[in-house]
Symmetry: C2
Subunit: 431 residues, 2 copies
């Protein structure tokens, strides 16, 4: 993985990072790296995520999913960190990403329609909930189970569960003798992509989870005390410095359709980890070249409150544009679609630099299991680094708990402080 910060330097962009500022930051990176390395060593909460490349045993996952590897489809029942990582991996690596279906919302129409379209006898079920009590996940799983039963399909033959050692899901595993995979200790859901939490569907679809872990391991080996030697830290440090100088938005724009989900995964990782204490960049997801003709207007000419992160693989499939005799299209003749996409990428970076707007480039050699593993790990390490530099609690999410309690109270019908606040919430309607 390569990171290019040229278009984020102070001599190019405003906000930008001056080189002497980077040098000063590099000393803080060294200290942060020590903290991170010690946290990994001790297996401390959160930092333990960076040990997953070596601690996740792919053969354990392969063994657990063995009974369902004949399934054509796999439906993941989970939410947030328990679904997005898995979705990101199959979207990037599967020949047919449609074989992995996600139920990570409680929209009744969507659930109904999705289940109705699947051949249930040929669809494995991957349930993921650390606590085994997540409302959305359990509600959906109860619906899924009943749908299988109503269709006369034995769901117990098709289900793999990833959950902790106690709770309703763990009980269910015992009752029905289901394969259970553990959730890794000390790893918040959003940092768990490189464990059974993120790898079960990929294993069912027989994707290269070993390569993914070894790519992640390579990125782990790249971490060191200086941002100048570590692409992940360089990325994190530059984001931090730009945020300090006013870049409150980080627009993440992969130039590869298979990485569209990666941008979504990154967005939740970044927002939930770093959106605290009145700070934290807002991740904005975009896709190149598609969004280039709309969002770029804002990125180049709007407020100087953002940075753009572009991501691409260096290798692309070979799809030549057929010849045409229309003069106005002659510039396309002899081109390849990949060349066109790369021309758009180069043009975007240059056009941001030309307008003095900061951009950071992330390049992978190729978009395969190793490349993706490297990217996911590097972004996790970058997130943790930013948390250290900003001195915030990267691994907690206190601000989402209020809403969870409120939703729970609303459903159970008991009156709590939260449900009262919901009932009395401000309203000013315009019809």
């Amino acid at each position: 993985m390569h990171v290019d910060i040229g278009a984020a330097l102070g001599e190019v962009a405003e906000p930008g990072v001056d080189e002497d500022e980077l040098d000063a930051l590099d000393e803080r990176v060294a200290t942060a790296h020590e903290t991170i390395a010690a946290g990994r060593e001790n297996g401390d909460f959160g930092y333990a995520a960076l040990n997953l490349p070596e601690e996740t045993d792919p053969s354990v996952i392969r063994e657990a999913v063995e009974p369902v590897t004949d399934a054509e489809y796999v439906v993941t029942v989970g939410i947030g960190g328990s679904a997005l990582g898995a979705k990101t991996v199959t979207a990037a690596l599967a020949d047919r990403p449609d074989r992995h279906v996600i139920l990570d919302n409680v929209d009744p129409e969507h659930i109904e329609r999705t289940l109705a379209a699947l051949p249930l006898e040929d669809t494995a079920i991957n349930v993921v909930s650390k606590s085994g009590t997540t409302a959305e996940t359990l509600a959906n799983f109860l619906v899924v189970r009943e749908t299988y039963e109503d269709a006369g399909v034995d769901w117990t033959e098709l289900t793999v569960v990833t959950t902790g050692e106690s709770g309703p899901l763990a009980q269910l595993v015992e009752e029905h003798d289901l394969p259970r995979l553990p959730v890794p200790d000390g790893v918040p859901g959003r940092f768990a992509a490189l464990s059974s939490v993120g790898l079960v569907p990929a294993a069912i679809l027989d994707l290269d989870i070993e390569g993914l872990l070894s790519g992640a391991g390579a990125a782990a080996d790249d971490l060191g005390p200086s941002l100048y030697d570590s692409p992940a830290y360089a990325y994190g440090a530059v984001c931090y410095a730009l945020e300090e100088r006013g870049a409150g938005v980080n627009a993440v724009m992969p130039y590869a359709e298979r990485l569209e989900l990666f941008a979504e995964w990154f967005a939740q990782l970044w927002a939930e980890s770093l959106g605290k204490d009145g700070r934290g960049q807002t991740p904005a997801r975009a896709l190149g070249a598609t969004d280039q003709h709309s969002q770029l207007q804002l990125y180049r000419a709007g407020p100087r409150d953002k940075m753009v992160t572009v991501v691409r693989p260096r290798e692309r499939a070979d799809v030549p544009v057929p010849e045409t005799d229309h003069d106005s299209l002659s510039y396309l003749s002899g081109a390849d679609l990949g060349q066109l996409l790369d021309a758009e990428y180069d043009a975007t970076v240059a056009s941001l630099a030309q307008a003095g707007r900061p951009a950071v480039e992330i390049e992978l050699e190729r978009l395969d299991a190793e490349g993706l593993g490297e990217l996911l790990f590097a972004m996790e390490a970058a997130t943790i680094l930013v948390g250290e530099l900003a001195d915030i609690e990267t691994f907690t999410q206190p601000a989402v708990e209020w809403g969870k309690r409120a939703a729970r109270g609303l459903l159970s019908g008991e009156e709590t402080e939260e449900t009262k606040t919901v009932a009395e919430r401000p309203s000013y309607r315009i019809d």
Copy 2:
């Protein structure tokens, strides 16, 4: 459509809009409404978009697509405004949204894989380009055409073209005697969802485009000189006022899977229209309840630089959560998935208000053709209103042109000012 601005008022949120500020703004809304009404009356560039509900003739579209209504799939070849509207409509209204496939990027792998998975003899082609020269669209169309030819499928029998009266696509229409639909006069692509630009795939899938247009017409009738009488203007005015007070980000979060694409459509409309002259909110897309457990951390506890727009239909399908005998799940017993989703929605709005963060609610009676038409039209009108209040050129996109010229130059191989800038763009690599 109903808009609730209660949680965006100054007494609740910071940034927030005070009621006397709204009153003052209402006078400016009256003036802006006059400009907009006059622009519509004269069919002026851009404003003409608001006349589409009455000017688009659905029977012309139905007639043009008649030869291909037997197709099981339709593949749209277009980019930006020429694809997103169409995608938004079928995603919201089709029973099987997978019947509409979009090629709006030039990622070679994706194109190859997508075409390989389609039964071409049963797949209609919908090509959309106003100028008929858009590089991505034409390159993709040349690839699509050749793929059909290689498979021995007569693409001319399956193709519908939406383009202007001249250019390579118009020529092609003549050569092969294809059905051609016009692009509406004076309507930028991103405002063209309610014309043939956005409605052809919906018509091929036999969706209710008449209902869509009549819903949009109802929203048009709601426009008037006061924000207090017009949900669309109320929304636009509040966004404008919040932006003025520091809400540089507008996080749009529909609580309905079928509206996920709507958020994407809104993002390009908002960014490309309003991201100018150093201003413009950054649209951030999210999906409730899925993203509630991650993004909400940032929205509640991050910088006070954003507002949240939540959108939901009032009616939902009935999918009860099956009973369970696990104590810890008893609060789910007797609930319905829709109730759970609505509890999450209510909890999110209340939790933002409780943290003093501004939120605006948009509610549709139901998510059908009328409701969607109303929503799309209202958001277009809101965008135009913000442009008037901010005194910017809503309907142009000068900042994307540089990149287009650069990409074109890179492909043709001629050296231009832009290609030189690309070649000399700043670089500082960390490997």
